[in-house]
Amino acid sequence: MTRFNHLKTTALAIALAGSAAIAVPAHADIKIGSSLAITGPASFLGDPEAKTLKMLVNELNANGGINGEKIDLIMYDDAADPNQARTFATRLVEDDEVVAVIGGTSTGATMAMIPVFEEAKVPFISLAGAVVIIDPVKKWVFKTPHTDLMACGKIFEDIKARGLSKVGLISGTGGFGKSMHEQCLSVAGKYGIDIVADETYGPKDADMTPQLTKIAGAAGLQAVVNPGFGQGPAIVTRNFKQLNIKVPLYQSHGVASKSFIDLAGDAAEGVRLPASALLVADMLDDSDPQKAVVVGYRDAYVAETGQPVSTFGGHAYDAFHILVNAIKSAGSNNPAAIRDAIENTKGFIGTAGEVNMSATDHLGLDLNAFKMLEIRDGDWTIVK
């Protein structure tokens, strides 16, 4: 008797799970999918990305959509968990039948999703940082943020320009920090940089003075670079000042938001980092073609969310517009046609810079798109 009851229970559970999952609304509009880290360890990246996408979709649909067709954005929260991301990727392709996907806040989630989109032949624009996403080039995969490799290059260029070469690294052990750390080590030689100290810290660490003390003790230290995102870099910056280390400190593009300056406080004075023009929208020359774009996005985002703009939301802005432009120019909702149109993106001015994609370059940004910023008097300034 009890076994029969077990069966009933199961049937009930399945029915419940099934009906609730099917209840997702379906429209005949253009379906765009997205899987972002709206919660979890990368949520302060995923959150502005999600808000940006929602804002842009509403705006576009209010203005009549693309060629009269509305955009239906289907968004999932993968919490930066690759396994979840993989499941949502499958769901987007097989259940929601989207024509293109924006997302993957973290590199891990992006890498887990790639095989799904490659196999299903659905164009995918990632918002994650690591260079492995587009190198080697994968037919259906694009991305909008500058790579960590470019960030290392930009930082090392600046260090060299100051006549320095002996660098200490303090990296976060999260995916972002770890990947950028590897990239920096790989290109250090190319820029004549000598890595004299190499330390790490955990994503939730509260105090990095031991690591910084060790770095400060390295012979001939001339500059320190901190690949990482989240609260770690702010603590590193504060500890840096606490220990009174007198060499220049470089942060990565992973902290490119105003909140970093708030969190690090006075200690942020003099810190340099590579970032897109978005952070310094007002300081651009009026003749700069990027100015209208970045000021427009920043004002819209601040008005919509009441929160300061970050470059992470900017990545989503760029991805969305590249995709919308591609759908328009492809003139169809066919994923293959959209993919080809994305690959043909030329002269697109986004928050990250001018994007020129090709069959061999699925990012389309060069080092010029990066600006070296320095924090002075609690605000960004451009290093000329």
Partner: protein
């Protein structure tokens, strides 16, 4: 007098088999095969935990570590040792069992919360190695896993199935084997010994059960189950990251075990089914997802503390009277 415990075993297996076969008839798209496969993969790990938690009464907050070992064996062994990914499943199971055997004896001397922290620490150590040794494991961003070649093999034999569909059936069969073994164990002399130390270690000792050895056996067996589930996950996703070995995954597996009913194989599968499909169902709730998930965990555990399946069975059994 109905004394043989054979029939519940067969009934549980039948119920599971029916579930596996009938469910696809209601799948609106092949995406559901993936959810099904994930349920069966988690179900396998949870059946392993039923042996440790439900039968032997021990606790582990670190079993995801073995998921990690199973998964990374399938990622690393084909690349570095040149063995086939399918063979790597057995290698992973062997390594997990060996490691469990080595660390189990001192860890399992501890009880209650002390055991919880020791297993937690053990799991975190495995996670840290997987995450830190980036030159081997690709670090926190994970690494790709070679294809098994099973799909190509099926195709050459004339079967054209999607990857999700194929893994649905593979994971189902492996889980059924796992369920059969766990059910065999339940009514066997060894199973009785394990269950006796669940209720009273002291009394188990006085009837001649070598408590330390039996705890260790349960630990090793459950480690192997969990490892195989990790291997399946790696081979199905063809990508693996250290998150599968993390603390949160350990907690997730333990929650599935307890939610469904820690002492029953059927409860294990139901627990896995609920917690695996819940995030998919709750996507409609957007920002309220975590609130609801937390609420469900609390409510089930407060009002059905033996777990869903035993508690519901009790309620249904009472009603006809």
């Amino acid at each position: 007098m109905k004394l043989t415990k054979l029939s519940p075993k067969i009934l549980t297996l039948l119920a599971l088999a029916l579930l596996v076969i009938i469910a696809p008839m209601f799948f609106p798209s092949s995406f559901y095969y993936r959810i099904g496969a994930l349920i069966f993969i988690n179900g396998l790990a949870v059946i392993g935990l039923v042996i440790l938690v439900g039968y032997a009464g021990q606790i582990s907050l670190g079993h995801a570590g073995f998921v990690g070992i199973g998964a990374y064996s399938c990622a690393l062994a084909p690349e570095h040792l040149g063995i086939s990914p399918v063979l790597a499943v057995f290698l992973g199971a062997f390594l997990s069992g060996l490691l469990a055997w080595l660390v189990g004896r001192p860890i399992l001397r501890l009880r209650g919360h002390y055991l919880a922290v020791a297993t937690l620490g053990f799991g975190i150590l495995i996670y840290m190695v997987l995450s830190n040794e980036a030159q081997w494991t690709g670090g926190p961003d994970g690494m790709a896993v070679q294809a098994t070649g099973l799909k190509a093999l099926l195709k050459s034999m004339g079967f054209k199935v999607s990857a999700s569909e194929m893994w649905y059936w593979i994971a189902a069969v492996v889980m059924m084997i796992g369920a059969l073994i766990a059910l065999n164990l339940h009514t066997s002399p060894t199973g009785r010994a394990l269950r006796s130390l669940h209720d009273s270690e002291v009394a188990a000792g006085t009837v001649g059960v070598n408590v330390a050895n039996y705890k260790l056996s349960a630990f090793v067996i459950s480690a192997i189950y969990t490892s195989v589930s990790g291997s399946e996950l790696a081979l199905m996703n063809r990508f693996i990251s250290p998150d599968v070995a993390g603390f949160l995954h350990s907690v997730e597996l333990l929650t599935m075990t307890v939610l469904g009913g820690a002492a029953t194989v059927f409860g294990a599968v139901i627990g896995a089914a609920i917690l695996t499909s819940l995030p998919q169902v709750l996507t409609v709730l957007h920002d309220f997802e975590h609130i609801v998930l937390g609420l469900i965990m609390m409510l089930v555990m407060i009002f059905m503390r033996e777990g869903l399946v035993p508690s519901l069975a009790k309620i249904l059994r009472r009603r006809p009277k």
